[in-house]
């Protein structure tokens, strides 16, 4: 089955090393841009703090892994896999994401 991609926004709407939140098939998704123009997408929900906030966290290099530190209690979530490093049982979903013709798309 071929993957369906939704346009989210222009790449130029993102600021490097920060995140935004997108509404995608009724779910809140946190989308991040790093300093090499790679995009990442994981759930916006922080299970540790029980709130939809991950898009508003700081991007952190955690021993070589690119993560976001939750703005609530600072647990790190791997941007590629959604794994919660401190509390693996609280890992979140990662979404397929790409940039096509200047548009950020979620799958």
């Amino acid at each position: 089955m071929s993957q369906v991609w939704n346009d989210i926004c222009d790449l130029s709407d993102l600021v490097k090393n920060t995140g935004v939140c997108a509404l995608h098939n009724g779910e809140q998704v946190a989308v991040f841009l790093d300093d090499e123009s790679n995009v990442y997408a994981i759930s916006n929900y922080d299970p540790c703090g029980n709130a939809y906030v991950l898009s508003r966290g700081l991007i952190a290099d955690f021993k070589g892994k690119l993560t976001v530190a939750s703005p609530l209690y600072k647990q790190h979530f791997d941007l590629t896999t959604g794994e919660c490093i401190e509390e693996p049982e609280n890992s979140v979903k990662a979404y397929p994401v790409r940039v096509e013709a200047g548009k950020v798309q979620l799958g």
């Binding site: 490097k16 029980n50 709130a51 906030v53 952190a60 955690f62 021993k63 609530l72 209690y73």
Partner: protein, 850 residues
Amino acid sequence: MSKQKIVVVGNGMVGHKFIENMIEHPDYDQYEVITFSEEPRLAYDRVQLSYYFAGKTAEELMLTSPDYYDEHGVRYIVKDKVISLDTANNKIVTESGREESYDQLILATGSYPFVPPIPGKDQDHCLVYRTIEDLEAITASAKESKVGVVVGGGLLGLEAANALKNLGLETHVVEFAPRLMAVQLDEGGGDVLRAKIEALDVGVHTEKNTKEIVAGETCRYRMNFADGTFLETDMILFSAGIRPQDELARQFDIEIGPRGGIVINNQCQTSIPNVYAVGECALWDNKIYGLVAPGYQMAKVAVDHITGGNLAFEGADMSTKLKLLGVDVASIGDAQARTPGCLSYTYSNSHDGVYKRLIVSEDNTKVLGAVLIGDVDAYGNLLQMMLGDIAIPGSPEALILPSVDGAPALGVDALPDSAQICSCHDVSKGDIFEAVKGGCTDLAGIKSCTKAVTGCGGCAAMTTQVMNAALTEMGVEVNNNLCDHFEYTRQEVFDIIRTKKIKTFDELLAGYGSGKGCEICKPAVGSMLATQWNEYILSDDNIQLQDTNDIFLANMQKDGTYSVVPRMAAGEVTPDQLIALGEIGKEFNLYTKLTGGQRIDFFGAQLHQLPIIWEKLIAAGFETGHAYGKSLRTVKSCVGSTWCRYGMLDSVSMAVLLEMRYKGMRTPHKVKMAVSGCTRECAEAQSKDVGVIATDKGWNLYLCGNGGMKPRHADLFATDLDDETLIKYVDRFYMFYCHTADRLQRTSVWMDNMEGGLDYLKSVIIEDKLGICEDLEADMARIIDNYECEWKKTINSKERLKRFAHFINSDATDDTLAYVAERGQERARIDMDARAKIAKGDVIETVEVV
């Protein structure tokens, strides 16, 4: 079995130490302790007595409290002197007629000031310096005097002279001997000290034997000296030495020495075995020790002997290091070079007022003593070499020459575990090692768990060295690196940013770091860039560095919504502004509360509402309150002289001025200030990083206090300042803090970890010891000039406002939020699971969101 009863006569420093050691003894439950004090209060810190003039209260000087004694079953009777002793029947009687029997009696009666038998010495305004009551009398007398004379140029005399000078009197010191501090200093040292003290406008008159005190012509009194000269003065303070308080022993058949003092053996027993004497009343090996450390040692020995141990008192070292009238002075061991055959080395520099003399053994290998004036850095090193009988590495003169490269410093490794590092509190090298192993890994921790450095402070440098040695030994690399990405301390990073004029994180990371940065270094660097350049924190370069609170200029709450705190400088608010706030709160249905910082906080604002709310706030004349930043929070004020009948100065105007001056300044941790209009202190200024209290002569400045997790009172830093000097000092203080503190280190911990502590801070800020004050002021001026309300700037930028939408691709809002009604407002739904988790401590790191 009935308990043994111990009566302690005298509740001074040593009497209390004895009791404290008893309480801490494992067998304490087999004893019952009762103590009598002639003074109207329990033991206080006599060593720090002079701080009373600097604003410390009797309460703050206390070493113990009725509560502590009650809790441990110690009975105490104050203001009742023991006047008779019956050693045959083991009984004492007090002035009020109270009788008490004992099994063991402890005489801890201290000493009294010696007043030479000069005719006229008993008049009003002829005073001594020993108790809090004496100090009250001195303060009262100074109010009616212009000139004051201290009789006696020893340690205490100079301390007393300092007090008189601070009380605003023209001050003189009259000394019988040919030089000041004759007991501790040699002639050269005495000369340098004299020059330094005269330069402070204190008259020094040596070789003066006062013959009589008669009525004066220009002042209240005239002191006539044996050599025919005279000096006029309004008050006289005798500080001509101490005499042991041995009157009880003398009258009731306990052996005393030929020149006074209760004779004790190595176990601190007097001639009657169940009567002990400790502290300044005791005579051991024909010596009276006028310092507190030997007294503490005696207290320890007496407790040990009573409880069946075999410790012995074997004499004590009398080396001292202090600051007299702002001049550093130290004397170690045989300062007068009395040891037969000893050699000496002298370094003297009259330009800088430095004098150092080192006395070494005949064979040039051991330190016997030293005199240091003006530069006492070598004190700890030399003292340990003398006490530890350590061979001098290399040539002796290098030990006192100004620090040329390669001067042999004593490695603390060379010291035995038993080496005493802090003499005030008898803390050994081994004690410090143990404390470090127990988890105290910074100076502030060592201070609180061993008490080292909390007495005279003279051991700070040595204590730090020992602590670092212990950390190294434990394999803890003393690593103050900012984080994994920067192998520099925060202070070093700050220096790099300043000197290399770095303006962005990327530039810094490329040149001096590794990896991509993290949630620790990014906000820390963001804060430093802001302190140094004060550019817009939401510029494209800076935005990636900010925590969510700084990005959205509001504090994130538990449910992902935000709080909004407009600035309300000094807590002042007009009725119209209040109405505007009320309307905004109502329109957006925000939970509204007064904060502990005298302003209004709205809670529950959603991301997309923030700019709309702020537009309205700005229209009503508000600015951002920076409740989200590591920055100045509030300057709390009391009502002050404009309305309050006690107000000395206009505390509200000063608080507004300070808040407007420092608003927006980014700091290593948040800072808080307060201004009170008088000593009643309604603004609680002494609990702030910077506290200001009005007096009848100006402003008193207090620094480095805080509330929070570990409350700490601020220290009095300077008194009676005018507006301009106050602001100058605060500018310098904040900038020095910004330049040198660690990340998230509040001012109190910063100062407590600083070698030299408060005195050092004074030397940097008041005396400009490092020669950096001009730079500090210029840096502060730049911050103030570049101030801009971040919210004003943000709502005027379309580009920036884009961020304030919950979804980048939809106008929908977060539908996961839920509220409950409570007391007429709505508040966030409480999530019990998350709460339990926080209570259990399952949180990664203390929340450092703000």
